[in-house]
Symmetry: C2
Subunit: 363 residues, 2 copies
Amino acid sequence: MTDVMTNGQTLAPNATIGILGGGQLGRMLSVAASRLGFKSHIYEPGANPPAGHVAETVTTAPYEDEAALRAFAESVDVVTYEFENVPTSALDLIESLVPIRPNRKALAVSQDRLVEKNFLRDLGLSVAPFAAVDDDLDLAEALLEIGAPAILKTRRFGYDGKGQARIMELSEADQALADMAGAPAVLEGFVDFSHEVSVIAARGQAGDISCFDPGENVHKSGILHTTTVPARLTPAQRTDAVLLAAKILNALDYVGVMGVELFVTSAGLVVNEIAPRVHNSGHWTQNGCVIDQFEQHIRAVAGWPLGDGKRHSNVEMLNLIGDDVDRIPEFAKDGSVAIHLYGKADVKPGRKMGHVNKITGAA
Amino acid sequence: MTDVMTNGQTLAPNATIGILGGGQLGRMLSVAASRLGFKSHIYEPGANPPAGHVAETVTTAPYEDEAALRAFAESVDVVTYEFENVPTSALDLIESLVPIRPNRKALAVSQDRLVEKNFLRDLGLSVAPFAAVDDDLDLAEALLEIGAPAILKTRRFGYDGKGQARIMELSEADQALADMAGAPAVLEGFVDFSHEVSVIAARGQAGDISCFDPGENVHKSGILHTTTVPARLTPAQRTDAVLLAAKILNALDYVGVMGVELFVTSAGLVVNEIAPRVHNSGHWTQNGCVIDQFEQHIRAVAGWPLGDGKRHSNVEMLNLIGDDVDRIPEFAKDGSVAIHLYGKADVKPGRKMGHVNKITGAA
């Protein structure tokens, strides 16, 4: 680590930000870093990562390569990440050499659904009924308590609906447990919600908090399909959403951007899950705000003041999954649509290829 | 050149755009290219160019290095440039291998003030009175015709007020000519203008034209200081500005973004100069429009449809020259200000270090 952490925790001009993960989130973080004059160094096991196209340096190495991790950590001034499933051993090594932001506590909580649920419940927030399931006995007990329909989820490494099995009737319990392939799991009760929203919240190094206006999310096949801003929320719900996000960030002494997914129910907001990073449901900020979620994250990590999250435009974000990219020529003709492609070489079903932000009016 | 120019002249997804010049304009072009899924390859003689931080590939070599130019041209699918003074020999070599956009005609016209003035006058556009000056006899004749005050400018390689000498009284003529150091020059008469505006105009491969709303420019020590949008213009002047820009682009069979600087006078608009590239006075579009001038240029070069140039916000762009970057902490606290830094290693007087776009309201 070069000596450029000056003014307390503020990153010096031209410093280098290390980013673990080279997907589209790392790519857009790297671009945001460049706007503030910082360089990026991407660490990614896979070859030719999307983030590498817009980064100063790319390290292609597995998370088990201690020499590569060490060289990476020594060449950057701070480390952040685009996904929460970085192996603990890699984080231990990196943290011995350079600060990691957001901190390890946020990662530990969000890497494990059971820890996360307990953390949120202990904060006094509403979550879906849940119970730990390690074996068939646990599952039987959990189903007695929670009932069906319910959903069984692996505690670790789940994303975009992966590692999940629905139990609509009790007869489906055995198959659901088999789907976990022996991995520790959590049974979650269904929440009767009208729609899902998410808050993209940020906390700076001084403890200041700034939230973007909540977006309303629609999923398709377990993957985010659209985010629409503004979301359908009462003024009271809007306030609740921001306050509970702030509670989570403060409890974790968090620095950076977090995505907080919320179910809207007649009894109030229920926290679905948190992601200690920039979030797909915050992509609309790129064309709706002066300072978007990517720059907000970089600002926090760099010790800068946060943007105020103000929205100048209403936006509908649409993810381009797999063949959806074939619609680009149509979107390119619409002057109210901003296109964001990730430069991925191959189109695959279910793969996030890009997104578009359609401006639907002034805020 | 790989075979990715499909659908007539449209660049294929994941194609690579070669950019001559690695300064801030190349940097922001590279970022815009990434948004559309393209990679960038920067060619720049100077070491550690700002654009290199966000480009897939950087070639560091002089414009006289034929092997480097050849390798560069062969590795990209189309070439564009961030500045108009690329040596002709380099362009000849590149053009034998890969298309250059905007085309050579635009470069030839804008590389030479005399050719440019004649071109604009022949189009029927108003320009300042001018005369070619190669020696003291020419200068004496030109001053008889145009009178003082006037300004002597080198025909080639002038920018940001460099290569210019004011002649306020006839007694200053000898010194002004000496300042040219023997370079061919042009004497230009002063134009009695109330203010300067510029039109950032774009033309696509199908001949379609799209202009951003004119911005009003204020210079300081010969360098652009602020651009404010909207500019003070009557509706008729606004129409004139767009029509004359279109006339220029069509006459050059232009593909890409051009900056057209105009003096506003009581007798109408007078063309000051044109720049066949993205332009400092168009930086406001990054935070005022869905599709900014950098993406507009990439769209044109890639054969995509152009954005419509619509503005969602009013903006004041302020250049950060030299020590102005010390004001960043102040700007960072203002949620209506978007910061754009260029990642230049050293602060020098007169050096463009970045700019800020302040949103002043909805359009």
